[in-house]
């Protein structure tokens, strides 16, 4: 595991005269620049690019501060930007995809933030999230310039090939590109933003539109490196460590991504899916704390919005009952031991309500009233449910985080006697992860299950959903290289799934639906 992390590492910047331009920029900048000129009949000043990501293992655990194993993929979002110099600045957005209608809004002259209407589901809201986090970064970076004066007006042309609602995190790609662009537009060519800063400010961006996600997607999009996957950690601090796959004897380690083409809009289904899961794991952490007589966060840390999480519970439990008062620093061996202990506690204290906790059940275990629990836990964002399945969700988070640690050990083992060893062991972890996502977290869907079973019986060693689930993409560990069976898997999926489910699918769509992703470069800039 190369130790360098992204503290001072700068987001890569290229220009037309750069000796060798990274492939994504070389391939895609010319066309977006042409489209910009035809839309605004002016040349853009620069193009900001940020990729989508696939997550090999560790789903729905980033918002509990547990580490994950994503890698940036060859699909990305580009924003061609021209900085304007108007007295009352405004931002005009045009998207190559007609589905996203053209938008224009003015920048408040007093330098205040552009308001985001959280009750509305629109692509421009995601632009405004990137704009907001960049604006607050600039207010701290250069208060004299941005405290009470508006940002620069912009003309923006957006084009991306990360399929939306596919679980490859098109929203994070878009937000990171926008944040990078807004900082570059307002600080000028002389300022070079660090990856760490871009990652830090974008991990919370989607909260402004009401999606309470963790930071995996943005971290992978910003810190992606060619031929490197990423070990992203959120605690003790936010860190993304690139690493190469182990060298096997006669196979390459490659991951096939297959899109179920079932679109799942994280925002609109949030009340019954994504945001509900965040409420469930937060509640589980607090019920565990109440049962074992520990306080998740002391008076200072806790607040009406910060209720602590399952990683906090693990820490205060070990402080109280094992006299280890420093929080877990991510060390693998002690992590495996503690997560195993957590799974025991979950069985002990939550297994008696497998049918789910009603609001009254939870209020009783937390020793507070119905109204109190509702006010404190259910008003952070809209939710709708019959019961809260604390047992299943907590069991998934701890077992999935345990699997990530085991996966990291595999990835950092110098060598394997037989390639089969790696594929078998890593594949097993992925299959367990899929089972847990399906049975415990209930975020799979029939199409995902179908694709996984087909892939597994056609050469994939490990198949699972990737991203939030409820549709979107799946990822498969398939031996690559000459005698690999990538083609075999693609063949099987095409015939047994795509042509069956989508009889009228075109070859191009099929081409796009199944891809072999090489870890790609993270966010970068191309200055004209």
């Amino acid at each position: 595991m190369t130790k360098s992390h992204s503290e001072e590492v700068i987001v890569p910047e290229f220009n037309s005269s750069a000796k060798e331009l990274p492939r994504p920029l070389a391939e895609k900048c010319p066309s977006i620049i042409k489209k910009f000129i035809s839309a605004y009949d002016a040349k853009p000043d620069f193009v900001a690019r940020s990729p989508g990501r696939v997550n090999l293992i560790g789903e729905h655990i980033d918002y509990c501060d547990f580490s994950v194993l994503p890698l940036a993929i060859d699909f990305d979002m580009l924003c061609a930007v021209k900085v304007l110099n108007e007295k009352n600045p405004s931002i005009t957005l045009i998207n190559a995809d007609p589905k996203f209608a053209q938008r224009k809004f003015d920048l408040p002259l007093d330098g205040s933030y552009v308001t985001i209407d959280p009750s509305v589901s629109d692509w421009s809201n995601y632009f405004k999230c990137g704009l907001h986090v960049a604006h607050s970064f600039l207010k701290k970076l250069a208060p004299e310039r941005f405290a009470s004066a508006p940002l620069a007006g912009l003309q923006v042309f957006c084009e991306g090939d990360v399929p939306t609602g596919s679980g490859l995190s098109s929203s994070a790609a878009f937000i990171c590109a926008v944040a990078l662009a807004v900082v570059k537009a307002n600080m000028g060519p002389g300022y070079h933003m660090s990856k760490q800063n871009l990652m830090r400010i974008t991990v919370v961006a989607e909260h402004y539109v009401g999606v309470n996600n963790g930071g995996m997607d943005q971290a992978a999009s910003v810190c992606g490196e060619e031929d490197h996957a990423l070990y992203v950690e959120f605690k003790p601090q936010l860190k993304a460590t690139p690493f190469k796959f182990p060298q096997l004897k006669n196979h390459e380690i490659s991951f096939v991504i297959a899109n179920t083409l079932v679109v799942s809009n994280k925002f609109e289904t949030a009340p019954t899916n994504y945001n509900l899961r965040v409420v469930e794991v937060t509640t589980a952490a607090n019920v565990l704390a109440a049962t074992y007589g520990v306080v998740l966060l002391s008076g200072k840390e806790g607040s009406s919005t910060n209720k602590g999480n399952l990683r906090d519970f693990m820490n205060v439990y070990y402080a109280r009952y094992h006299n280890i008062s420093t929080p877990w620093n991510g060390d693998i061996e002690s992590g495996i031991e503690r997560l195993t202990k957590m799974l025991v506690l979950v069985e002990e204290s939550l297994a008696n309500k497998k049918q789910g906790f009603s609001v009254d059940d939870v209020a009783q275990s937390l020793n507070c009233s119905r109204e109190e629990f509702t006010r404190d836990y259910l008003t952070t964002s809209p939710v709708r449910f019959q019961v809260l399945k604390l047992y299943q969700r907590a069991k998934h988070v701890y077992s999935e985080s345990l699997r990530v640690l085991k996966a990291v050990k595999l990835m950092t083992t110098a060598s394997f006697t037989a390639d089969e060893d790696f594929f078998k062991q890593f594949g097993a972890l992925m299959n367990e992860s899929q089972a847990s996502c399906d049975k415990l977290y209930e975020c799979s869907c029939p199409e995902i299950d179908k694709i996984c079973s087909i892939a597994l019986s056609n050469g994939s060693y490990g198949s699972r959903l990737t991203g939030a689930g409820w549709g979107g993409c799946t990822v498969h560990l398939v031996p690559g290289g000459p005698n690999g069976n990538i083609e075999k898997v693609k063949e099987a999926l095409a015939n047994e799934f795509y042509k069956v489910k989508y009889p009228k699918i075109t070859d191009a769509e099929l081409e796009n639906a199944i891809i072999v992703s090489k870890p790609a470069l993270g966010s970068c800039l191309y200055e004209l």
Binding site: K104, T115, I116, D117, S121, S124, E268, T272, R384
Partner: protein, 435 residues
Amino acid sequence: MDYNKRSSVSTVPNAAPIRVGFVGLNAAKGWAIKTHYPAILQLSSQFQITALYSPKIETSIATIQRLKLSNATAFPTLESFASSSTIDMIVIAIQVASHYEVVMPLLEFSKNNPNLKYLFVEWALACSLDQAESIYKAAAERGVQTIISLQGRKSPYILRAKELISQGYIGDINSIEIAGNGGWYGYERPVKSPKYIYEIGNGVDLVTTTFGHTIDILQYMTSSYFSRINAMVFNNIPEQELIDERGNRLGQRVPKTVPDHLLFQGTLLNGNVPVSCSFKGGKPTKKFTKNLVIDIHGTKGDLKLEGDAGFAEISNLVLYYSGTRANDFPLANGQQAPLDPGYDAGKEIMEVYHLRNYNAIVGNIHRLYQSISDFHFNTKKIPELPSQFVMQGFDFEGFPTLMDALILHRLIESVYKSNMMGSTLNVSNISHYSL
């Protein structure tokens, strides 16, 4: 939950934006600068401010400069303003007391402006039922599409409650209780508060404003007007104590003729549902109750809306729902409302709907303008969308018009009448509009 789909109209439409003429937009003070202006800003290419009129032209000029309204012209007279062809929509955002004397001549002069399509008037559309009836008739004759700012109907919480009720989540409505609070009308009056809102007849008081907005919202959510109502209006505080900003009494008392308490009870036309309302004037007390509570009890579940201040139309509310979804509930339009997959029918569903950082004051007006542009540019591609409609009534689509306002005025008129006559009135006919 599909009401919250943003209109797909591009905020940079290929067609020209709606040109807006404001009566009452003043950069320095007032309601429009705090709400209409920021809303238009967010929809900057669907609406363009092209004309301002105010009795003193200097105010208009100063506002154009302050807000850098590059396409706006300040008009010296109401006539020149009303007849200018550079205006597609006129927005009236002045004191209710001057609505009548401005809108009537304005409609007359506007006959010289063939482009005028929309007339947007702030609630409470004139100070009396007669004035409201005359304005409504004049606008109808003039043939403009009218809009009234009963923006509570656009609140995401109200729309979600309406959805839950209409999809059978609480079964039949069994009873409703409302407790509200109208801030200014208590024992103390801030010295800077404008005198006219304390004098009866200016169209701004506890009944017309606080009760008006809330009861319109209730009818909209339950899709029902009232059949019988009874009201008791109180002025138990004929004199208020003047206080400074920090709340200290200045030892000076000022007369108040507007009411400081309203008792209202009635039955809804649909289902003879008992409704009990109590609106209190005065500083909202935080002691043991919230300042706005709407409880709707149904055979299959309960709905509750709560707000900190008593003004439902500008508060960031919290919606609580708990009930067993009646999936066998034959929907009004006959088809079966799909129960979300994964719910088993018998079990109780709980929903809490709150958007922590929603700015209701600007947001609701913003969404009202959005619904106007949706209509104007027919963004939802509704086949044969009529060029005009008389009233929103209880539809999800569209926006409230002067007819909706007129019906509300008739209800408020009967509130005062019921109090004066000491009798329960049958109001089931006030919702039939007659040209």
